[in-house]
């Protein structure tokens, strides 16, 4: 009897878990009401983590994309039609992402903005390709290019660009050869690991340590103590904002004084807060958008962003803003086409954005340059030389 009750309890728990998991994004495949007619608003979807550890990325993305849409709506929309932007919460989870991709397809959205996570985007890409929905992502993993979907576009450079620029700066420019690496085994970290290692190998440099951590690891003493014993001059960091911050904080506690170097996550306020400003001092960052003062366009974007949300603009918001602008420009130039025609229109769009000049090729990459910045007194500034 006791055993039986135990089993029942387990079954009940399982049922509850299945019910909560299944309820997040289930719409029957037959529920197809594609409304790509010529009247009514133009429906854009934004899929991003709005909850969970990666939700700060999703929040920034949403703000950037919303700003672009509201600017176009204020100017009268496209062909007299207003644009709507609906939000879908991926929770940073690829499984939820695939469910949402089906939902976005069945509810007749013309294009999708997001996601900020390569792994989620890669999971969603086959469905979006099959359904003919162009998607402009903030992911930067080279895996996105490997998907070979003609409907998938990147709103920034790939890891290869970030890390090639970084390696050029630290190895060629500063002559640092004693480099340790610490990366996580998630989609982003793995991409960073491979791209930076490739850039180092091309320069004949072998890292003195190559430590891999998991995405939800909390204690890095083992990896960092190993790195400390190798006495590197620089530590390459390939992990998302919060984890990167924890690694830097623990490294300083362990007495590691070498500066860290990395890509986009290391330039964000979340990284700075988690690590602490003094610990993050001197971090070298490869980023296509160093600050809000680099150009006239970025200054006006930052002002509009500040006015709308009362906070400082940063890279992810700028990327999503650029990406949304590109989609909207393509929608105008193609007279609100959809499917393959819209994808071709995006590919043909030449756009001067906050990150630079976008010109897409067949891989879906539109921009191929980053700049080097350094964190000084808690602020990311352009590096000298």
């Amino acid at each position: 009897m006791k055993l039986l009750r135990g089993k029942r309890a387990v079954a009940a728990v399982l049922a509850a878990v299945l019910a909560t998991g299944g309820a997040t994004g289930c719409s029957a495949p037959g529920a197809d009401d594609k409304s790509s007619d010529d009247s009514g608003p133009i429906k854009l979807a934004l899929a991003d983590a709005q909850s969970g550890q990666l939700s700060s990325l999703g929040a920034w993305e949403l703000k950037g994309a919303k700003l672009a849409v509201s600017e176009w709506n204020a100017k009268g929309g496209i062909n007299g039609r207003q644009i709507t932007l609906d939000v879908f919460d991926t929770q940073g989870d690829p499984t939820i992402g695939t469910n949402l991709a089906r939902k976005i397809a069945s509810e007749g959205y013309i294009a999708m903005i997001g996601t900020a996570e390569s792994a989620v985007t890669i999971a969603m890409a086959p469905i979006l390709k099959q359904e003919g929905i162009p998607n402009i992502t903030s992911g930067q993993s080279t895996g996105l290019v490997a998907v070979k979907s003609e409907f998938l576009f990147l709103n920034g450079p790939t890891s290869t660009t970030y890390d090639e620029t970084l390696a050029k700066h630290v190895v060629d420019g500063q002559g640092i050869k004693q480099i340790a690496m610490i990366t996580n085994n998630g989609s982003y970290g793995k991409g960073e690991h491979d791209a930076f290692l490739k850039a180092l190998t091309a320069r004949g440099v072998t890292p003195v340590a190559d430590q891999v951590v998991t995405t939800d690891q909390k204690d890095f003493s083992a990896a960092l103590t190993t790195i400390r014993q190798k006495n590197p001059k620089l530590i390459f960091l390939g992990a998302e904002e919060v984890e990167s911050g924890l690694i830097v904080k623990q490294a300083r506690d362990l007495g590691i004084t070498a500066p860290f170097a990395g890509a986009a996550p290391q330039g964000t306020p979340v990284f700075l807060d988690t690590a602490g400003a003094t610990n993050a001092e001197g971090t070298i960052v490869s980023s296509p958008y160093l600050s809000n003062d680099i150009s006239e366009a970025s200054k006006s974007f930052a002002a509009a962003y500040k006015a709308a949300y009362n906070e400082e603009a940063e890279l992810h918001g700028a990327k999503a803003y650029d990406g949304t602008q590109i989609v909207l420009t393509a929608l105008r130039s193609s007279n609100v086409a959809s499917g393959k025609d819209l994808a071709e229109a995006i590919r043909a769009t030449k756009y001067e954005g906050l990150l630079g000049s976008f010109a897409y090729d067949e891989t879906g990459v539109g921009i191929r340059a980053t700049s080097i910045g350094v964190i000084r007194s808690g602020k990311l500034v352009a590096a000298a030389g």
Partner: protein, 289 residues
């Protein structure tokens, strides 16, 4: 050698936090025979409350913790009060009730504090202590001391006070305890309250070590649950040993197996549980389910 010792040090401070989480799980389990699936979410609530009082209200860290523990203890009482009608009627529903409470708390956290997290600066200033080339964070020592103190107080409460002895009696045989006039409902309420308080203590302490976000308790909850099982579910010393063991095991696996550390940690855990299904201390006196 240095790497090994430093790894142990790194594992122990998180292990102490896992131990506190495990204590909460075990206390409720040994009193009621119930696994409180909302426990991880209570940890998150505690972490948010402590960090809010510390950062926004600018209370001293110790005071912020005490307030957080008190408020979270009340949440524990509320959970128990709502679930009480189900006690001795339908145990499965009670179990699902705790899952439901977990989801509710999760939603409340996101409504109140937002989906993004916050970093909590360390309340203990000062550089890490250097000893034979090893570095020990002063805050880690604080965490260990508080966790040890909490454990001692809990053991004293259970063994030396009348209320604690009553709870022990309920844990052993709740029908007999009722027969000799012990209020089982009150006993359960105290277990939930103290369990929630321990969760808040764990959450508040771990805030400056990690990053306070809505997912914080999920990760700690799983490790804490594993720790409780490893030590012997329901056993107080078992929870402590289990917590420290999981913390150190985790750190070692991270050092040796890098990307596969999580897999290795839980494989080792599974192996131990297969050899000793009742855990290290193997009490498991309670089985009301």
């Amino acid at each position: 050698m240095q790497v090994t010792l430093q790894t142990i040090i790194g594992g122990i401070s998180l292990g102490a936090v896992y131990a506190l989480v495990a204590l909460g799980f075990s206390l409720v389990y040994r009193t009621m025979g119930l696994v409180n699936f909302a426990h991880g979410n209570v940890v998150t609530v505690g972490a948010y409350l402590a960090s809010t009082f510390y950062l926004s209200t600018k209370l001293p860290f110790a005071l912020a913790m005490i307030v957080a523990i008190a408020v979270t203890g009340v949440i524990g009482l509320v959970i128990e009060r709502v679930l009480r009608p189900l006690e001795n009627k339908d145990f499965d529903l009670m179990l699902i009730g705790t899952i439901g409470f977990g989801i509710v708390l999760d939603a409340l956290i996101i409504m109140i504090w937002g989906a993004t997290g916050r970093a909590v600066p360390s309340p203990v200033a000062g550089a890490p202590i250097e000893l034979f080339g090893l570095r020990i964070r002063t805050y880690d020592l604080v965490v260990l001391a508080i966790a040890a103190l909490a454990t001692v107080l809990l053991v004293l409460f259970l063994s030396r006070t009348k209320r604690g002895a009553a709870m022990q009696a309920v844990a052993m045989d709740h029908e007999a305890a009722t027969a000799v006039g012990i209020n089982v409902g009150r006993s359960n309420a105290i277990a939930f309250m103290v369990g929630a308080g321990l969760a808040a203590l764990a959450g508040g302490l771990v805030g400056p070590l990690l990053y306070v976000s809505p997912t914080l308790g999920g990760a700690l909850g799983i490790k804490g649950f594993a720790a409780a099982i490893l030590g012997g579910f329901g056993s107080i010393p078992g929870a402590v040993v289990g917590g420290l063991a999981i913390g150190v095991l985790d750190s070692f696996a991270a050092g040796h197996f890098q990307g596969y550390s999580e897999l290795v940690t839980f494989l080792v855990f599974t192996a131990i549980i297969m050899i000793r299904p009742t855990g290290v201390f193997g009490e498991r006196t309670v089985n009301r389910a």
